[in-house]
Amino acid sequence: MAIDPKFIRNFSIIAHIDHGKSTLADQLLLQSGAISQREFREQLLDDMDLERERGITIKARAVAINYLLDGQTYELNLIDTPGHVDFHYEVSRSLAACEGAILLVDSTQGVQAQTVANAYAAIGADLTIVPALNKIDMQASRPEEVKDEIEQTLGLDRHEVLAVSGKTGQGVPELFKAIIDRIPAPAGKVDAPLRALIFDSKFDDYQGVVVYCRVVDGTLRTGQKIRLMAGDTEHEVTGLGRFRPHAVACDELSVGQVGYVIANIKLLSEVRIGDTITTAIRPATDALPGYQEPRQVVYCGLFPATHNQFDDLRTALQKLSLNDASFTFEPETSDALGFGFRCGFLGMLHMEIVQQRLERESNLALVQTAPNVTYEILTRQGEVLHVSNPTRIPEPGDIEEFREPIAKVQFIIPADAIGQLMQLCTDRRGIYLKTEYITPTRVILAYELPLAEMIYDLYDKLKSTTRGYGTMDYDLIGYRAADLVRLDVLVAGDKVDALSVVVHRDQAYRRGLRLVKKLKAEIDKHQFEIAIQAAIGSKIVARETISAMRKNVTAKCYGGDITRKRKLLEKQKEGKKRMKQVGNVEISQDAFLSVLDSSEE
């Protein structure tokens, strides 16, 4: 018995990181009766280990709840989204499954960079925005000022801004009412051929692929033969259900409803996020618009720490990619590291999380090379190459023009930090665009910056120059020529391909010096002297030497020392497992990572 779509509301909760989306979701579950006080725990929807450890949302989560208003039961499908800039893709996918969005603004922090970015994403997707101040229970809350900011930056009417506390539940009934009153009901056609948007999926060892979808037109039923339109494969629906918040099976999903589908799909490659599900018998003619492919901005090589785990790594990547469609991977071979993959990510945090998930969920030890961006190269032959692996950069003599990606960056910062931040951007080859005052004390500063100058650590620098009050967001705007070079590292005369980096020529000497110094500190002494050199083409720009190990022997080993000595040696042995052999030299994972750490600059 299908619910009339006019009593359904679909919305996402969007905000800057930590503004309280998941906490508000808890309140919505609690006050709608979806969970009891007893089942309640903070940020209930953040159920991944990494999410709970880090206290942030990584994956968007959809939940169906019922809410009784004026004698009518409404079905609300809410999606809690992540706030971190790296997971913006999760937000835009969620938005495509909704008619509205709650835009939450921490009333102690005010409008921040991702508040603006996410609000514009929602506006761009034609969603109704319900703005709400959050954390109004806090002393430091400054509602009127923040309303000014919302009006100024987003052009929203201050009288439409609600005020809630996810913590105490204050204002939540009014929020429910606003959701129902303001957000339109789904507009799909009940009688039309089935069209359901796949907005997420995950792999389950027992059930195979579990697909998360939102029905746009028609009805999805168990036992139905469905077709995935892009892949053109057919499957039989063996299970349907919704999260409330725990999985609850049902017989059908009709217009506007959000839920999961199990259809005996074994092949990971058969499911594409953004694809449309239709029926095999009466297929829809046109697929739904789907999603723009996410754009990876940082790349690194991932290699198994122990060899012959290449296939395990491939399987792990395939499995994870089903749950996170936003990273890419393709096989790569390195002289130093053997067989692995070059992977693309949406940002540094994303890269870190994917690596951790691979290691944990598939029990792998990985070696990661320094992250880099994609470069565009015009060769002497007139070819244009896009290279996201420094080892593939042609020799200097073959390059006509070396281009790097440029980002337009928006900072929202306290006005008194302008000077420092401008200096920071100038040091990083930034081009000033404009300053805009939101209020007398808060400004938006816009710059064009080479992506490589901002992506790795600018966020940390921003946080430290603004004592935590600055935020940033960026868009890629294209490539621009720059005086770039590939800096190679030679260990004992052998080029370590995995350590090559692209740098601006002005920084090559300093970077090279720092690199060889770091490597010197990280590479253990061997029985022979090891030269570490940094070079541009055949020109050596920096050199350090690791002297030969002279003496490494335990002086005393009598009855009482034996166990301890053995354990010590076994520990050293364990450390060696993560070592990679380059020529005759063993290099640790830390050494590879030290190449990217610029903390001493």
């Binding site: 002279r550 490494n552 022997v553 080993c557 009855g559 034996i562 166990t563 053995r566 040696l569």
Partner: protein, 406 residues
């Protein structure tokens, strides 16, 4: 252990008299019963800066109580006297006990660990705690070997080490020891902060001038929890340059060899036949008894260490409780790895394949695998088909070689 018949004759000689010119692997007598005993005496005149042994200064008033506890522990653990081939009383400073306490200790030890004919009984002593009457007590009590902690003849080094004897105390102590014992040894420490190759060679000359048949030369180790460790962490003391330490070690090997004292273990040198048989038990991973504060024992493949807390030790033994602290039953592979680690310390015996197999039940190749060939190729090990041993080059980087092999 089975297959004793196949062990070459010389491995059975651990009970007999040692023949000159031959280092003998101890304890391969085929039985699980330990043939060696270690007894610990924790008292010291003063705590040296580098020391992480179970040793205490200012607790001499507990010595009598300790000796009673020690006897009680032996009675508890052994139930009947256990004949042994070697006894080692170490510390601490056993000779910190007064003459009558010392006599009492020796007679208790002689009762519980009757020494077989030709056996070796060593006591550690420190210059400054020794006098003629104590030497006499030791001699009469059955001791036949003394190991003297000289450490250095260089006053500033003794100071850095926070030893509380003077360089002149050493020859004095040696005179007394020499008058009563044929076998005695000196301990020296190199790599002392502030020392040079010259200081060290001078130390060696002064030691050699006293005519020892056995010398232990230890590279100074900064052990966690010691005063020296803290001084280094605070920047008050700096470890010497690795090259200097290397040169000191290398010099010792050459100089002592030319004086007829051959290196037979990484830190030990002796005239042929004068090796410390008790310590060779450890390095062959044979079983041994151990009693006293912080003492380790290895019986039935269980490695156990008594508590290092003196009051806890006394109270537990007095209450009839076992004073054992951490203990570990060794699995076959752990035991095999330990055996490799220990046997490789023997620079002359090395790891004899057959002995290794007899001791552990597994082959050397199955433990060390391909790393053997790698280190032979790199010149760290030598292999004559029967045994594998560290080359001179390998001795200096033995830990690295072992970390790779285990």
């Amino acid at each position: 252990m089975k297959g004793t018949e196949q062990i070459p004759e010389r491995y059975h000689s651990s009970r007999g008299k040692i023949q000159a010119g031959q280092v003998v692997s101890s304890g391969t007598s085929g039985s699980h019963t330990p043939r060696a005993a270690y007894i610990h005496v924790p008292f010291c005149a003063h705590k040296c800066g580098y020391c992480d042994f179970a040793s205490l200064a200012g607790s001499d008033h507990l010595a009598d109580r300790y000796l009673v506890a020690l006897e009680r522990e032996m009675a508890m653990r052994l139930s009947e006297p256990r004949p042994v081939d070697t006894i080692f009383i170490g510390g601490g400073t056993p000779t910190r006990l007064d003459a009558s306490q010392l006599a009492r200790l020796l007679s208790a030890v002689a009762h519980w660990f009757p020494l077989d004919a030709g056996g070796e009984w060593t006591v550690e002593a420190n210059p400054g705690t020794l006098d003629e009457s104590k030497v006499e007590v030791l001699h009469r009590g059955g001791v036949n070997r003394v190991s003297l902690g000289a450490q250095s003849f260089h006053r500033p080094s003794l100071k850095v080490l926070e030893r509380n004897h003077d360089p002149e105390d050493v020859p004095k102590a040696v005179d007394w020891v020499r008058s009563a014992f044929d076998r005695w040894s000196l301990d020296l420490i190199f790599g002392v902060p502030g020392s040079t190759l010259e200081h060290w060679s001078n130390d060696l000359e002064q030691a050699l001038a006293l005519g020892p048949d056995h010398l232990s030369c230890y590279g100074l180790t900064f052990e966690k929890g010691t005063l020296l460790w803290k001084q280094q962490a605070d920047g008050a003391v700096h470890a010497i340059d690795e090259d200097v330490e290397y040169a000191q070690f290398a010099y010792a090997l050459d100089r002592l060899a030319s004086a007829g004292l051959r290196q037979y273990e990484i830190s030990n040198h002796a005239r042929p036949g004068q090796e410390c048989r008790h310590n060779l038990v450890y390095w062959s991973n044979a079983p041994y008894f151990g009693v006293g504060l912080g003492a380790a024992r290895f019986v039935d493949r269980v490695r156990a260490i008594n508590t290092r807390d003196l009051m806890a030790y006394l109270k537990r033994v007095e209450a009839g409780d076992d004073p054992t602290g951490p203990s570990e039953q060794l699995e076959t592979d752990e035991f095999a790895r330990e055996t490799l680690m220990l046997m490789l310390r023997r620079t002359q015996l090395g790891v004899n394949r057959q002995e290794f197999q007899e001791r552990t039940g597994v082959s050397l190749e199955s433990v060390a695998g391909e790393s053997l060939g790698r280190h032979i190729q790199r010149g760290n090990l030598e292999d004559d088909g029967q045994k594998v041993w560290l080359t001179r080059q390998g001795i200096f980087v033995a830990d690295m070689v072992l970390a790779d092999m285990l």
